[in-house]
Amino acid sequence: MRWLRFIIVCTCVLGATPSFAHDDDDDEQLVDAGERLERAVSDGGVEVAPRPSAPASAADGGSEPPAGETTPDERPRSGDAGVEPRRRETTVRSSRLSRSASEVTITQDVIQAAPRTGAVDLLRLVPGLVASQHSGEGKAHQLFLRGFDAVHGQDVELNVAGLPVNEVSHIHALGYADVNWLIADAVREVKVTEGSYRAWQGDFAVAGTVRYELGLEEQGVTVAGSYGSFGRARLFAGVRPFESPETFAALELVRGDGFGPQRAFGRASVLGQVVVPLEKLKLRAVVGSAVGRFDSPGVVRDDARAGFFDASGADQGGSSSRHQLLLGVDLLGDGKTSFEVFGVLSDLRLKNNFTGYTSGPGGDGLEQTHHDALLGARVEHHRHLHLFGQTLSLDLGLGGRRDGIEQSQRRYRENDATVLPATIDADVIQSAANAWTEVSMAPGRWRFMLGGRADALGFEVVDRLGVRARTASFGVHWGLKAGVERQLGEHVRAYANYGDGFRSPQARQLADGELAPFVNVRGAEVGTSVEFSRVVTKLSLFGSHVANDAFFDHTVGSTVALGASLRGGASLIVTAKPLEGWVISGSFTAATARVVKTGALLPYFAPTVGRLDSGYTRQLGPFTAHAGVGLTFLGPRPLPFGDFSRPVFLADARVSLRWQAVELVFDVQNLFDSRWRDGEFTYSSNWDPSRTASQLPSRHFTAGAPRSLFVTVEMHL
C-alpha cells in the first residue's frame, strides 16, 4: 500500500489535469467510445491507459476501429438491445482496451524518440523484455520476458497485423520468431499483452503476446537514405496515399559489414497494407516479402579469445526468406465479426558451430534447414448481450492453421565445409484448431471477465531417412482465463487476472499415438493503474507456475528436465508528457525464476530490466527539432554453476532537424561505447582440436555492438 500511495502521489504531482474516469458500464463505454477515444489520443504518446472503447475486437485484445477511421452512425444493434445510443459522426482513434495492469500500447512518439535499427528494437520497448542476438543480423533473437528464457520465441507470441510470426516445431528452436523482415518504419504501434490472461492469446503466449500494428506515420511519399558505422547502409521508401496511416506500401534495403569479423549482412523487404472502410464492413489486406543473408560470428569462448569482437568457427551464418498474405474483412452488424485468412511461406538455412570440435576433428558445424508453408484462418465475433438485467460483453473466436514443414539437419566439416549426411530429414504436418470465448460484465464499479480456450493440435511426422516409422499424435489443451477489475476513485483502477498459457511441443519428439504433451503455464497477476492526463503509472505483480518445465540450451542442443518451476516479479511502467512535445516512457521489471524442488534460480533469465525512452520535439522557426535518448539497463543474469553475467547499461541518442520536406537525423547507439556482452552462456566447447581439451562448461559470450553512428536524410514528398 505504501508503494501504491507513493505512485499516486508521484502521478498527482506530475499530472495536474485529471482525465476522465473509467466507465463502470459496458453500454456507456460502447456509446461514448468515439468521443473518449478521440480525447484519449489527443494526449498522444503511449496508451498505457485503458480507455473505454467501441466494440472491441477480441482478436487484438480489444482494439477498436483503426486510427483515422470514420465510423458510420452508431445504430442500435440487435445485440445491444436496451441501449439508447447517441447518433453522431465520430472519428475514432486507435486505443487499447487494457484488461490487466501490464497491457500497454507503444505508440509512435515513443517509437520515434530514440534510434531504432529494426523491428527488434521495438520489441526492446516492451516492459521487461530483453532481445539478444548471438548469430548475426538475420537470425531470430533470443527473447527473455518475465523470468522466462523464451529462446527464439517459445514463450512469447509475436504477431504482425494478424500474421503469426512464431513457427511451430522449428528445427532450430521452438516457436522460432524472426522479425528481421519487418520494416520498423511501417510499424504504427506495438501492442503488448504480458502474461496469458486473455482468451485470444494462443500458442507460445506463455510470458506474453506482442502484436505489431502496421501503418506509415506521414501521408505522401517518404524516401530515406542512411549510412553509418561499419558500412551500414539503408534505403527506405514508403508511400501512404490516404489520410489513414493504415494503407501504405514500403520498401527497405539494408546491408552492413558488421562491427567485427563474420558479421556482414544484407536484406530486402517489401511490405504493404490496404484498408478499405465501407459502410458496414472494412476490408483489409497485408502483403509482404523479404529475403536476406547474414554471416555469424558465433559465440566466443571467453578464455580462448584474442579480441572482444572475435568470431569463432568459420562459415557460420545463413539465409532466410518470408512471403506472406493476409486478407480480412470486418462486418459491422450485430456486433462486429471479423474474418481473416492468411498464408506465410518461410525459409531458413542456418549454419552454426557453438562448440568447436567436441565431436572430433571435423568439428561440430551444424547446418539446419527449415521450410514452412503456413495456411490459417480465424473468425472472431464481438457483441453485447442482455441477460437478467445485466449487459454482457461477449467475444468468440475460432481459428485454425496448418503448417507443412520440411526440415533437415546435418553436420559440416569445419575445415573444408564438406556437408555430411543428414541426421534429421523430416516432413512435418502440424495442424491446429482453436476456439475461445470471453464473457464480461461490469456491474457498478466492478468488471468481471471469464473466458476459456481450447486448442487441439495434430502432428504427423515422416522421417525421410527411414530410421523412424511414420508417427502421428494428437492433443488438446484447455485453458481458463479470468479477470476482475475495480475502479478505485477517479484515477485508480485495480486488476486481478488469471490465465493458463501453453506451448506446443516439437513434433519430432512425439511418439506414434502419443497424447501430445503441452507445456502448461498457470499465471496470475494483480496490479493497478493510476491515470492522469499527463502521466500514467502501472504497477503489476505477476507469478506463473510451470508443472513440467525443461531447460533447453539451444546452443548445444541439450534439454534438461527441471520439474516444476515458479516465476514471479513486479513491473512498473510510467509514461508521462510533462510538456507539449515531450514524452517520457519508462519501465522497470524485476523477476525471479526458480526450480520448485531445489529453490535454485533457473539459468539465463533476466532478473532486472530497465528501459527509459524520452523524446522532445519542438518547432524552432521554420525547423522542427527533435532530441531523444533511450537508456537500457540489464541486471546480471544467472548462469549455470552459480555464476552471473555482467550487467549492461546502454545509452542511445537521436537528434533530428526538419525543414519543410527535408529531414536530417543523427542516431548514435551505445553512446558511451560500452564493451558489453549481448549474450553470455556457460557450456562445454573445444576450439583447439589438437589438444586434450577441457570438457567442463566454460563462459562464452557474444559481443554487443560498439558505438555506432548513423546519418539519415529523409525526403517527405
Partner: protein, 263 residues
Amino acid sequence: MKRIGLVLLLSGCINSTGNSLVTFQATGAAAPDIGAVQGQPLRFTTPRGFDVTLTTARVFVGALYFSTVEPMTASGSLEAPCVAPGITTGEVRGGLELDALDPTPQPFPVQGLGSDLPTRSASLWLTNGDVNASDERTVVLKVEGEATRGTDTYPFTASFHIGTNRVTPPRNSALPSSNPICEQRIVTPIAFDTTLSQGATVKLLVDPRAFFGSVNFATLEQVSTMPPRYRFRDDAATAEQADTALFNALRANAGPYRLEVAP
C-alpha cells in the same frame, strides 16, 4: 495464488542457479582387494586356467572425464561422437603412468576440476595427447610376467600403443566418421555414481587380473626360444586371439577399472 505466493517466499533463499564448481584430487592405484603388494609380483589364475605371475603392469591414463549421462553402451548411431552427450561433471587432464601392482595411491599430476552436478558415468582416455590424432606412440599398457598351464610356460611381455596400428576403416564411404580412432582410445562408459565435492579425492582402482581373463597365452607370438619369450602383438592387422583379448580387456568399461570417491 496462496500456493504460488508461499512457494515464492520459501524458494527465495537460494540466490544462484544452485550448482558450483569444485576442485578435487585424483589418484590411481591397484585395487586393494586383489592382494597386490608394492614391489612384489601378483599371482592369480585366469578363467582359462592359466596361472599367471605378473611382475609389471603399467597403464597410462591420459585423462579422466565424468559425465551426467547414465552408463549405457548402445549409442544408436553409426557416427556417434566419441565424447558422450551430456554435461561433463569432472575432468582430470593430465597423464599418469599408473603402476597397477602398487596399492599405494599414485596422484595424477594435475588437480581435477568439476562441478557438484550428479555424476553417473566416467570415461578413461588412453592417450597422451589429441584423442583424434591419427598416430600416437605413447605406450598405454606395459605388462610382463609368466603364464603357466600344465607343462606349458609362457614368459610374456606386452607393450601397446594406440595409433595407426589400431585404425579401423570406415564402414563405407558414406559414413566417414563411423570408426574414428578416438573410439579405440576411450574407455567408456564406466559406472560412477557420485557427486563431487570440494577437496574430494577420486580414486581410479585398477585390477590387472581382468586384463587376462580371456587371454589364451598359447596364441602368443614367440620371439625367442632360448630362453623362451613370448610377446603380445601390437597391431590389429596381425593380432591373434591373445593379442585381441588383451587389447579389448584394456578397453573394457567393466572389470579392470573402478572409481571411488573419498570426501
